[in-house]
């Protein structure tokens, strides 16, 4: 006690630290190691971003060339013209993400805790669709959901489609070229992005925690609610982000499985850039999309309250 109250003679002896300071070369090592990554980011991320920012405030045509005229009105015009597609993209992506979570969580749980020696087989089944191209996988859904195919016939005989078409999810007796088809396609295509982070997160949970919860008379539901789910939150956040962000910008599903009323913002950007040749509008739309997603993700991470995404 007396030793603690006695003030130490000096704060920290600085000279000792001076001696142990690593040489400059050693201190630079981490930065050298970062160099390839930084360069990659500069060339493939920062530079295109600047180029695109510039494009979005240019005016002109292919013949006269495009010049920076600080024409910020492009942003307002683009937003005013295409806000329905923005809203639709966010909506479709959100529903698909939710479906992915609902479908993916039990599967990830199963693989992590119950699959036993089948774990690797189930994992391969989850990843296997990635061996074919995104386009082929989406086209396959046109066969699965064909008007006269077994799935749609079954849904029709259960009168499921009467309900969905009453609320505008489908159109008459068909599923293709409706919002439901697009959401199905998005859910299917991004499901593995949900399952994999969930699985890695769940797999790290010590099963003894479950036993402990049981010893403390927690019912399985309570165990899940109080132990498993909170511990899997990083996986949930990572999975939802990995699903939502690409889904919001996707255009293949809307193009192949949707109709005119299901076009998403990605379709608009593609069409403005390639067909209408209105590069400034396309660039402005891309920026608005990026900003919107960034804002939503920031808000979400704050709410979900986790920083360790990996």
């Amino acid at each position: 006690m007396s030793a603690a109250t006695e003030a130490p003679p000096e704060p920290a002896p600085a000279p000792v630290l001076e001696v142990r300071k690593p040489p400059v070369r050693k201190r630079l090592v981490p930065y050298w190691l970062l160099l390839p990554g930084i360069l990659w980011l500069l060339v493939f991320f920062a530079a295109p971003l600047v180029y695109q920012a510039s494009t979005s405030i240019q005016t002109g045509s292919l013949e006269e060339g495009f010049k920076v005229t600080w024409h910020f009105a492009t942003y307002w015009d683009a937003l005013g013209e295409y806000w329905p597609q923005f809203v639709r993209s966010v909506l479709f992506a959100a529903v698909a993400t939710l479906l992915c979570l609902v479908l993916g969580y039990p599967l990830a749980y199963l693989i992590a805790f119950k699959a036993g020696r089948w774990r690797n087989v189930v994992m391969i089944l989850v990843i296997a669709p990635f061996f074919t191209s995104f386009l082929i996988r989406t086209l396959a859904w046109k066969t699965i959901l064909a008007d006269s195919g077994p799935v749609v016939s079954a849904l029709n005989s259960l009168h499921f489609l009467d309900v969905t078409s009453a609320i505008g999810l489908t159109e008459g007796t068909r599923v293709l070229a409706t919002p439901l088809a697009v959401v199905c396609g998005l859910t299917y295509n991004f499901l593995p992005f949900m399952i994999l982070p969930l699985y890695t997160c769940l797999e790290r949970i010590d099963p003894r925690l479950h036993e402990a919860a049981g010893d403390l008379y927690a019912k399985p539901v309570t165990t899940f609610r109080k132990v498993t789910f909170p511990l899997s939150m990083p996986g949930v956040v990572a999975g939802t982000l990995l699903t939502f962000i690409p889904a919001a910008g996707d255009y293949i599903n809307a193009e192949l499985l949707g109709s005119t009323d299901q076009k998403m913002i990605g379709n608009v950007i593609q069409s403005q850039f390639l067909r209408v040749l209105d590069y400034p509008t396309a660039a402005a739309l891309s920026f608005i999309l990026m900003a919107a997603i960034l804002a939503m993700v920031t808000l979400y991470i704050r709410k979900a309250g986790t920083e360790d995404l990996v």
Binding site: V29, L139, S148, E171, T260, L274, R275, V276
Partner: protein, 423 residues
Amino acid sequence: MEHLAQSEPRPEPQPEPLSAAELAAMRRSMTNGRMALTRRSLLRASGAGVLGLGGLGALSACGIPPAGRTDAGSSADHSRQEKRVAFSNWTEYIDVSDDEKHHPTLEGFTKRTGIKVKYTEDINDNDEFFGKVQAQLAAGQDTGRDLICLTDWMCARMISLGWIQPLDPAHLPHAYTNLSPQFRDPDWDPGRAHSYTWQGIPTVIAYNKKATGGRKVDSVDQLLTDPKLKGRVGFLSEMRDSVGMTLLDMGKRPEDVSSDDFDAALARLQKGVDSKQIRRFTGNDYLNDLSKGDLAACIAWAGDIVQLQNDNSDIAYAIPDAGYMTSTDNLMVPNKARHKENAERLIDYFYEPKIAARIAAYINYVCPVDGVREELAKIDKSLADNPLILPDKEMAARSHAFRALGSKENKEFAQKFADLTGA
């Protein structure tokens, strides 16, 4: 919860002096520990980097130069020294040997001339291909391609941008003599100074007899109004084909379409969209839909239909009384191509009736070569009699083409059509 508590401001009167060991540990961690690079600091750093780069100077330094006509287009021709030619074409658009590894006509060309053909199927979409080569051509660079095959309206755009080299008629005797009259003088390339037709593409109405219940579908009006077809009608996402067919049905000529005509045709299609008559605007994926019966009837490209009929006997086509559209895919030599003369010799080779017949027998589009009928009949009589491959005079007379559009007009039309298709 832990981190929430951490983030709350807590009373901290004075930073306590750290011990030497603590300081040392901290310093270590700054350079090689976990603290060294938190995600946050990385984000902050990259954000600052972007902002720094994105300074006003960088922003205004960008821009796309005007695509002027440059006479720098014709470059030194290396044809005589380098016996090569690079030909970019659409997928499945030339003859293939049975083992699918060789292109007999191209090998025949190499055997005769000693010129090796580097054949690449890297064109899938006109707009996409334009996006791919645009930067190079605008900057006056070689695209690495000596011969490209694009659809007429895209040819028109590239020629008017000054990105295509004029062809030397001296190297094209067969092409000049054998090009059939229907394709001789398009408004976008008078006298075929820059291009020669590869194939003609009739746009017709196709239907699935099973899906229509044996009903014949033979007019755009029927496509847009027949209640039996509701929700099972497809139009093409290619503006000139869909709008052109609608214009013809309204008694207008696509050759001299006015802005008002265009709007009227679009209004008509819009009605079809609003009434849910039209299911989708499709690219190449319409074939599968039509074959399955998800599309009962649609606007279709004739060559596809000839091939689809081989697999599915329910598929039928009709040529509307009002007429039909024919577009063309055309061979052109882009600026700065290293082997222009070789490319011209290859074009000329394709215009020999024997060679043209071999290609026509394989790809089933309209062959633009006069005198091919006898040669094609030798290969397959039924092909030579198919009006979709070799249109007779009466049919050719009902063929129409969309007027070449200026760039401003093109943008206006494309924007309106994009609005119609939802994007």
